[in-house]
Subunit: 361 residues, 2 copies
């Protein structure tokens, strides 16, 4: 009969902390450390069940909640730090081997939001010294034309990362397009093999999707211990919600994914220590959805008409910030929270890809 | 600004039911219908958020719970029905094209439980007319030897399904072995690309892992409507827990995965309408973990010493059956619940694979 081991939890927690600390110490000595999040396989721990009901005496999330307003995580500032480290690494690469990372972007059509996103990515590349190029295709182009652009970049040795700006026009099959993208250049991490390797314990994807990676980096930098925490991910998109849930699970949170068919989402969310919202519905998550002291990461970025703003609109998150800021212990603003982190993670993935392909450490 | 649509839930529910019904009607007219579970892509619905808090008036799970003891799902009997349909299909295939499906099993080492499982699978193949062969390798064989056996079966046109009996001896890297397995013959569905395509909405894996597929088939046959239900999966193994959570989510349940690092698993489980337990800890899930009227699928199968039994042991599930049977509305026994369904799903996957490879409908 399989025995029930006595309270292995603290042992495993210590082991994980040790692993992470060793990793940071080792990497800290090198100039190559850009992110705080450890590789996923280093997180893998055996699931040894202990049946005592209260393994954590006091939630550390609650401990840090002792003021009336939340600590607002400045994603812009954090991402600037990361981008500065990346710029240093790119310089070092150029000095050592005379090469820099290269990113190719394929944009189909003229969506105004896609144009803004692509422009921001290209600008960010320039700032850190990553070479970039954009291929613009007309809205009515064929699948074969997108695939052909992809194949060209797959073969180009000066390109280490390729991204197809989503969403594509409806007549194009996103799956068929992404299947052509070379796995080792898939810096967005949307290829299903990367998704599979992110979901499966014991494996590590070549790339973690940028927004989910940015969310975890924010959580780690906010000092929250993810292991053992109740996490709720609102939204199950293939590019944010699902991979974020896999990542949180790899960090040993207990994850519930909420979607449009969920009954009483507010009740489920209000039990969570960590809430990551990526539904795309402005102000959906009200203050009473949030457990006092919870960590709230708001991925939602929806334009809302506002004549008082210069462009006639402003960006609003999924979370009703004014209410949640008085309940949460940590919160990200919109804009200026997750958004800049997404771009920083794209640069980080492109740098990692170039290092891997050029065998540069 | 993105608008909040008025209660689209009932509309979507009707659409899904209609889709499923049409599918069954279409398939019902053919002899090829073996399972009740629809293809995954037919389940894909847009996530249109409605913010009314109680979209389901009365839970249908509760409606069917009106007696003191649960309805015990007879997995053995249900699987016999499925196996009989598969046998009919294999006969039809042989009559029409003179070929039958072929399954290859690779077994490394002499684990007594693996030997029993492999023997059962081979016997089940024989009964439905599927050709099978087993390659036995010694415990101390190399990764290259397992890979070479796999490559041989990959090339063999009479083989339509290959499975590597897990777990492998510790010195072998499961990932490296499975990577060699031809995707189109991966009837266990363990290749990470199949896992990724199961997790990602809008895609469909070539194969769904057998035990998770068997669990969903049992749920569908028990008449439970999965959409909108709270589901808890206990255990996050790559072969049962994780793919089961993806499948339940594809069926629009709100899924929480519980693992060894989860705090208060009993509290989370007791809120679930559907519980699938795959932790491998005998009797871990007690009666007070179960919400009255919940559906309980017990995947756990652990041998427990029992001198009164012929073999000196008996098989025990994760769920304390004697307690849960008085609380749940539907429950699966161990043995005789999920186990026989797993074998039936392996036969079903092998048949589907042969049909696809031989272009037989």
């Amino acid at each position: 009969m399989m025995g029930l081991m006595a309270t292995p939890w603290n042992y495993l927690r210590r082991k994980l902390q040790l692993k992470t600390r060793v990793l940071h110490t080792v990497k800290g000595g090198l100039t190559s450390q850009v992110l705080m999040s450890p590789p996923l396989v280093s997180l893998d721990l055996p699931d040894i069940w202990s049946l005592s009901s209260s393994r954590l005496s006091v939630s550390s999330v609650h401990k840090i909640f002792n003021e009336q307003t939340a600590w607002v995580l400045d994603g812009k500032m954090i991402s600037m730090g990361i981008r500065s480290s990346i710029a240093g690494e790119v310089r070092r690469m150029e000095e050592c081997i005379g090469k820099v990372p290269g990113l190719a972007v394929i944009m189909v059509g003229q969506r105004w939001d896609s144009q803004i996103y692509v422009r921001n990515k290209i600008k960010a590349c320039e700032e850190v010294g990553i070479k970039s190029c954009v291929t613009e295709l007309p809205t009515d182009c064929t699948e074969a034309e997108v695939q052909s652009a992809l194949l060209r970049f797959n073969k180009d040795p000066s390109i280490h990362g390729i991204l197809v700006q989503l969403p594509l026009p409806q007549h194009l099959d996103e799956g068929k397009v992404l299947d052509v993208l070379g796995l080792e250049k898939d810096v967005d991490g949307f290829h299903p093999l990367n998704t599979g390797n992110l979901a499966v314990i014991g494996r590590e994807p070549l790339f973690i999707p940028c927004t989910p990676k940015g969310c975890i980096e924010l959580l780690i930098r906010s000092g929250v211990e993810i292991i053992g925490k109740k996490a709720v991910v609102i939204g199950r998109s293939n590019i944010v919600g699902l991979p974020t849930s896999f990542l949180l699970q790899r960090h040993h949170a207990t994850v519930t994914v909420i979607h449009a068919f969920t009954e009483n989402p507010e009740q489920i969310t209000s039990a969570a220590d960590i809430v990551v919202s990526a539904a795309g519905i402005p102000n959906m998550v009200r203050g009473n959805w949030i457990k006092p002291g919870a960590i709230v990461i708001d991925v939602g970025t929806s334009p809302v008409e506002d004549p008082s703003c210069e462009d006639g609109y402003r960006l609003v998150g999924d979370v009703c910030y004014e209410e949640a800021v008085n309940v949460a212990s940590v919160i990200t603003p919109v804009p200026g929270g997750v958004g800049p982190m997404t771009v920083a993670m794209l640069l980080s993935n492109t740098l990692d890809s170039a290092k891997r392909m050029l065998d540069f450490t």
